[in-house]
Amino acid sequence: MSESRPRTLFDKIWDNHVVERLPDGTCVLYIDRHLVHEVTSPQAFEGLRMAGRRLRRPDATIAVADHNIPTVGPRNPEAIAEEDSRIQVQTLERNVKEFGVPYIPILDVRQGIVHIIGPELGISLPGTTIVCGDSHTSTHGALGALAFGIGTSEVEHVMATQTLLQKPAKNLLIRVDHTLGFGASAKDLVLAIIGKITTAGGNGHVIEYAGEGIRALDMAGRMTVSNMSIEAGARAGLVAPDETTFAYVKGREYAPKGAAFEQALAYWRTLPSDPGAQYDTTVVLDAREVAPMVTWGTTPGAVVPVTGVVPDPATVGDEGARAQMQRMLDYMGLTPGTRMEDLPIDVVFIGSCTNGRIEDIRAAAAVARGRRVAEGVRALVVPGSGQVKRQAEKEGLDRVLLEAGFEWRDPCCSMCLGMNPDKISAGQRCASTSNRNFEGRQGPGGRTHLVSPAMAAAAAVNGRITDVRQLG
């Protein structure tokens, strides 16, 4: 590795984690942090057991159950009504005991969605490699960590070897000039990015988000952006660590303290991309042009500004693309030309690893304050972790939301995916702060419109998609 070549943030983290480079260029890449949850781990533990293997570094691993946990009722595995869900959580609890993996129990205030609690607890740190059997591991890249989702075979591979076999990704720079205007949030920014580069635009790349528009975001906003890197096809997103990052990390439970923190800081300051570092691809966006966004289709790239209309397949030249658009419109029950703001909403979901942080709940509560959820609309607010919930309650946000007619739930993935009791029914239209609008994602036949927390709250009070800027 030549030190003289200007390197990107990605190159630096990568180089520092290469254990060995094999002749064909595949690298044995060291993994600093392995986050484990109940859905993608049982078969990995089973594989270890069958091969008579142990975890190489339980002390670099942490487990939590999140996907299957109901957001109302008693918080213990035995109380989960659905048998398969209960078995999955109980299996995790058995496995962590057998293999000596640190575990955050469901009743612990620190429990929550794995991608919320990693940063929140200071387990996710700049310059580290972080993996989890979950595609939204890209979230942690907001701290300047190389963080990506892996499959269950790789989960087992990391457990057994603390490494992965990988080839370096290509570098994609997304530079966001200027700062977001009134009413536009990090969620709108990332939806605009995906709309621009498409859901396959990041394939084979790691995205580095840079520019004034990213620098100006708080950590929550950066996590929202990085979280959805996977929706643009990139396995990971990165934001260079800066003072905002350091201030966020400092004092967190698992973060280094005192002299160790200073030592870490000195290292972290060396991470940002060198001047003149080469990117394989560069995309530039003007943040001032980003309006509040709403998806109309069943991929996150099918998105328009809230002031826009449902697009018309007749205007699309390519036959395949036209057919796909028509298919999406049929599924979503939409007619070309309909104004997005005229779409009535049945359900509102505020939460998930994209938008389940305290800042998101504040944004929703600010819109909800003094207003009422529209007649016939079911609106759920689900904090991303126990700590987020506690903080929101300390600030009285739960009362604001409850008084406005929102449901205030316990932390979990909830309605982000149809895997626990929180689902939407066939034909229902949902304004959701989650990250995927795939067919059936929130429940079979459900129709998802991805939006920001403020936009979701606005949709709840008006009973239809609403430009939050009009609410004042």
Binding site: E20, T26, V28, Y30, V39, T40, P42, Q43, R56, P58, D59, A60, D84, I87, Q88, T91, P102, I123, L125, T128, G133, S135, G149, I150, G151, T152, S153, E156, H157, A160, T161, Q162, T163, L165, T199, A200, N203, G233, R235, E253, Y254, A255, P256, K257, A260, Q263, A264, Y267, T299, G320, A321, Q324, L417, G418, M419, A426, R436, F438, R441, P444
Partner: protein, 208 residues
């Protein structure tokens, strides 16, 4: 993991782009703690109606595609989540090879780990193969991994690229973990080096 050498079988045409992992296996079927048995839920919402009855128009509900071992699709196959349940469901159904213009990264990776060969071929070639596949049971495709060719029913051979390391593992049915553990001394040395250079990195067993 089963070896993959050559495969001759029925190919099912699935001319859709962005076939996401929720489509391949919806989240409600992820609650298994096993790898097997997911084949009946493969493409669940495309395959069955709300009452659970087969949709006759869906390709895998038709003969001879019920026995398909090869799938041919359009761009960005396997986008979405990291769930390995997607390749498990495909494998459990009997699919050993997927041909598409490109794949989402994680899915691509996961396929190899389960002995499924994902082949990238240009869209025009995929469309030609889809036309072949539409001919049904008489139009079997052959995939020869050693020679890196797909053989069309008319005998035409189409070359495909594949990473040599992955090819080696697949041809020999080798387990990645076993391979990597051969590097254990290097991993030990790396860990010692990092501990010295970055002693600040705390562990997950004790909050600092």
């Amino acid at each position: 993991m089963d070896k993959f050498t050559t495969l001759t079988g029925v190919a099912a045409p699935l001319p859709l782009a962005n076939v996401d992992t929720d489509k391949i296996i919806p989240a409600r079927f992820l609650k298994t703690i096993k790898r097997s048995g997911l084949g009946v839920h493969l493409f669940d919402t495309l395959r069955y109606d709300a009452a659970g009855k087969e949709r006759p128009e869906f390709v895998l509900n038709q003969e001879p595609y019920r026995h398909a071992e090869i799938l041919i699709a359009h761009e960005n196959f396997g986008c979405g989540s990291s769930r390995e349940h997607a390749p498990w469901a495909l494998l459990d159904f009997g699919i050993r090879c997927i041909i598409a213009p490109d794949f989402a990264d994680i899915f691509y990776n996961n396929s190899f780990k389960n002995g499924i060969l994902p082949i990238r071929l240009p869209r025009a070639v995929c469309d030609a193969l889809i036309e072949d596949a539409k001919l049904g049971g008489n139009a079997r495709l052959t995939v020869d991994l050693e020679r890196q060719v797909v053989v069309r029913p008319n005998g035409e051979e189409i070359h495909f690229d594949i990473d040599p390391f992955r090819k080696h593992l697949l041809l020999n049915g080798l387990d990645d973990i076993g391979q990597t553990l051969q590097h254990a001394p290097a991993i030990d040395a790396y860990e010692a080096r990092r501990r010295a250079a970055e002693p600040w990195l705390p562990s997950t067993t004790e909050a600092a």
